[in-house]
């Protein structure tokens, strides 16, 4: 090897030798920061130690102070580098074998390895004395690297007006395994493209008839050609002309004369990208079909088997499509079941309505026709309870029918209570579910606090049970399922109802159920509604044991109340009956509920079992949450 005689040349050698070490040491240190596996740590530490050895030897042989170095010295240095280099190669082989598909790790280890390999290929040119990495015989030369190895082959179109250029390019590309057609100008190229399908176009920029940029523009404007990647070729390499090409949609830009390695790499990259894009487009199209199917399920128009083609894919999307198809079929069956149940409920409601029409109370606190709070024109009283009165009214501001609920003054006495109530209302307003009565507003007028709500024309489950007695299995399940759905929405927003009871469950004429008064039981002060005032609101008939005891009220407490409602719907009576509230509480806390199937032999065993599970004393033994209850209900045949 030739020696080096100037300080600059020695510095260059030092630079060339130290650059790979920067990478070896840097990557090793970085990977060690993350490595936990002892084998991996060991391998990285070996490579790091070897890297530091290499650095020490290089620094010793070529210190910054040197201004010349002989060929023998360089050869001696290289000899001394072989051993630590070998250790790095060995360590990285071991590391690659345990990479386990971690692509980032594998890539980093390969970089350590290629840096180590590069070290001893650094040579001093015999002719010029220039120092550079030269790939030796063990490594592929640039020309063979350009032509070796399998990579994507494709059908290419070369467009260049200079015949020699075309010929060279064609030959080279054919040797790389592609099939190649050539065109001698822009117009000829467009004609070709119109007739034949190409995977990639290599397009000269400067051509006499129609230049490359114009061809590119026409291709990008043509939906049939738009997706064919184009690599521009040009002798111009200034940034502005490259930018022009890229801006007009070229995939890449190559400067003449071509570096064969670069040409191959760019073409491969381009084709790879195209393949990925094609696969992605196909994937997206099939994802689109799944989404369409989901929309169809929502609209109730999905036909099982629509996803047949997507379902045949071997990948995750195929699996998704198959699972989806199966689920859609189940959902449909469940919906049909629920529809039948609701229909049975609707018939029951119609019958009940005939019986209740006659006896609406007369002594209204707000007379009909009165304009309440300057905004609500009272039409009629539609209900009354422990909390206050409910009126049907017209909201003069909006011209809409609303329900106005006035609250008994003793329920909202101090400002703190009003504040708490308001915040509860704010929470409640976030629930948007077709099974929840929308709360509009909360206000105070002349010492009367009131709520305005969506007005629902219909009757309560209370009225239904009072007029009909027990409701039968299908109507009960229709009520329970819709109730569970409302709780899924409310609990999802962090709102617990606290006072689920038939009086709060409204049924419209089609059997649709809407739940009223979410969170309003809080108003009763204390957490259980059993304070002095609370006691007057109602009975603890539907209240969970933990609520009675003043313990933390959870989603599970609402589920208990659903259990009581279902029990009552199915049997026409409550699970616990006593002469006084205190006796009732004592009973509900101590005694197990009776088996509903014992009271009504028509109740199927799984339905009775679910009701008993809901009535478990401990919340832990009830279904895990509203979604769980919804699922359990849907599974009941």
């Amino acid at each position: 090897m030739r020696g080096l005689e100037t300080a600059e040349a020695v510095a260059e050698l030092r630079h060339e030798l130290r650059t790979p070490l920067n990478l070896i040491i840097g990557y090793c240190e970085m990977l060690l920061e993350d490595a936990t596996d002892p084998g991996v740590r060991n391998g990285l530490e070996q490579a790091l130690t070897a890297g530091r050895d290499l650095l020490e030897r290089i620094n010793g042989a070529v210190p910054p102070s040197r201004s010349e170095i002989s060929g023998e010295e360089i050869a001696g240095l290289y000899d001394s580098l072989r051993e630590p280099q070998g250790r790095i190669l060995e360590a990285t082989s071991a590391l690659l074998s345990v990479a386990n598909g971690d692509q980032q790790f594998e890539r980093d280890v390969r970089r350590i390895r290629s840096s180590a390999e590069r070290l001893l290929t650094i040579e001093v040119s015999q002719d010029t004395g220039a120092v550079r990495a030269v790939l030796t015989a063990e490594h592929p030369t640039r020309e063979t690297a350009a032509e070796a190895g399998p990579s994507i082959t494709a059908h290419l179109l070369v467009v260049d007006d200079v015949e020699d250029n075309r010929a060279v390019l064609e030959r080279r590309l054919r040797r790389q395994g592609h099939t190649v057609e050539a065109a001698s100008g822009g117009l000829a190229a467009l004609e070709r493209l119109g007739k034949e399908k190409f995977d990639l176009v290599l397009l000269d920029v400067l051509m006499p008839d129609l230049d490359g940029l114009a061809v590119l523009e026409r291709m990008k404007a043509d939906p049939g050609l738009r997706d064919i990647p184009v690599i521009m070729i040009s002798a111009l390499d200034d940034v502005a002309s490259v930018v022009r090409c890229i801006e007009r949609g070229a995939e890449d830009h190559l400067t003449k004369p071509f570096d064969p390695v670069l040409l191959r790499a760019r073409i491969s990259a381009c084709l790879e990208k195209k393949q990925l894009r094609d696969a992605e487009l196909e994937y997206l199209e099939q994802v689109g079909k799944v989404i369409q199917a989901a929309t169809a399920v929502e609209a109730g128009s999905y036909d099982s088997g629509t996803l047949g083609e997507v379902g045949q894919r071997g990948d995750e999307l195929g699996r998704l499509a198959r699972v989806f198809d199966g689920m859609a079929a189940q959902v449909r069956a469940r919906e049909n079941r629920l529809r039948e149940q609701v229909e049975a409920l609707r018939l029951a409601i119609e019958e009940a309505k005939h019986k209740t029409r006659a006896d609406t109370p007369r002594d209204m606190a707000l007379p009909s026709g009165e304009l309440f709070a300057g905004r609500y024109e009272i039409l009629e009283e539609v209900g009354r309870g422990g909390m206050g009165m409910v009126y049907r009214a017209i909201d003069r501001d909006l011209g809409e029918q609303v329900a106005v609920k006035t609250l008994r003054p003793e329920l909202v006495r101090d400002p703190a209570q009003i504040e708490r109530f308001k915040s509860e209302i704010r929470l409640t307003r976030h629930i948007t579910d077709r099974h929840v009565v929308r709360t509009h507003d909360f206000g105070e007028r002349d010492g009367i606090c009131y709520l305005t709500m969506e007005y629902v024309e219909g009757i309560t489950v209370r009225e239904l049970i009072d007029t009909r007695g027990k409701l039968g299995i299908a109507p009960t399940l229709a009520i329970a399922t819709q109730l569970a759905q409302s709780l899924v929405a409310a609990h999802g927003k962090g709102v617990i109802h606290r006072d689920i009871k038939p009086q709060n469950l409204l049924l419209d004429k089609d059997g649709g159920l809407k739940v009223m008064d979410f969170g309003i039981a809080r108003l009763a002060g204390g957490s259980n509604g059993l304070t002095e005032v609370g006691m007057t609101i109602g009975t603890p008939d539907y209240m969970s044991p933990e609520q009675m005891l003043g313990e933390t009220v959870t989603e599970g407490s609402d589920l208990y109340s659903v259990g009581v409602v279902m029990f009552e719907c199915l049997t026409g009576r409550l699970p616990f009956v006593a002469n006084s509230a205190m006796a009732l509480i004592a009973k509900s806390l101590r005694e197990p509920p009776p088996d509903p199937a014992g009271l009504n032999p028509e109740i199927p065993a799984p339905v009775a079992a679910l009701v008993l599970r809901l009535l478990a004393k401990s919340p832990d033994e009830r279904p895990a949450g509203a979604p769980d209850l919804e699922r359990l209900l849907s599974e009941l045949a």
Binding site: R14, T19, N22, L23, G26, E33, P64
Partner: protein, 121 residues
């Protein structure tokens, strides 16, 4: 989060150093040659520049001079990085307007200490 501009032509060096700095909580943007480095320095708001000295297009020395000439970038601290480690490199870097100088292979702790010393508190 301090924002660093790393000007480095070697792809692997860029990858390695940027990732190591990001792990230490820096936001790192990269330029692949001196010209791009100067352009980015003028438009991005950087707290510090790490400048490799042997760069294509415009080398690090020249890029540093240009960054120092422009009013909006004059005050950005620059640390020169070089693998040459010739005696005199340090003086040359300082003369070109770098605030500090470090050699490759990078010793991360040492480099971090130099970065910390130059960042505004």
């Amino acid at each position: 989060m301090p924002k660093i501009l790393l000007v480095e032509d070697n792809e692997m060096n860029r990858d390695m150093l940027s990732r190591r700095l990001q792990r230490k909580g820096f936001e790192v943007e990269m330029a692949v040659d001196g010209k791009q480095g100067v352009e980015m320095a003028l438009t991005g708001k950087y707290d510090l520049i790490l400048m490799d000295m042997s760069l294509p297009e415009i080398d690090g020395w020249e890029a540093t001079r240009r960054v120092r000439e422009a009013d909006q970038t004059r005050a950005i601290p620059i640390i020169a990085l070089t693998a040459h480690a010739m005696s005199g490199d340090r003086e040359k870097a300082m003369a070109a307007g770098c605030n500090d100088y470090d050699t490759k292979p990078v010793e991360l702790e040492r480099l971090l200490a130099k970065i910390a010393a130059l960042l505004p508190q």
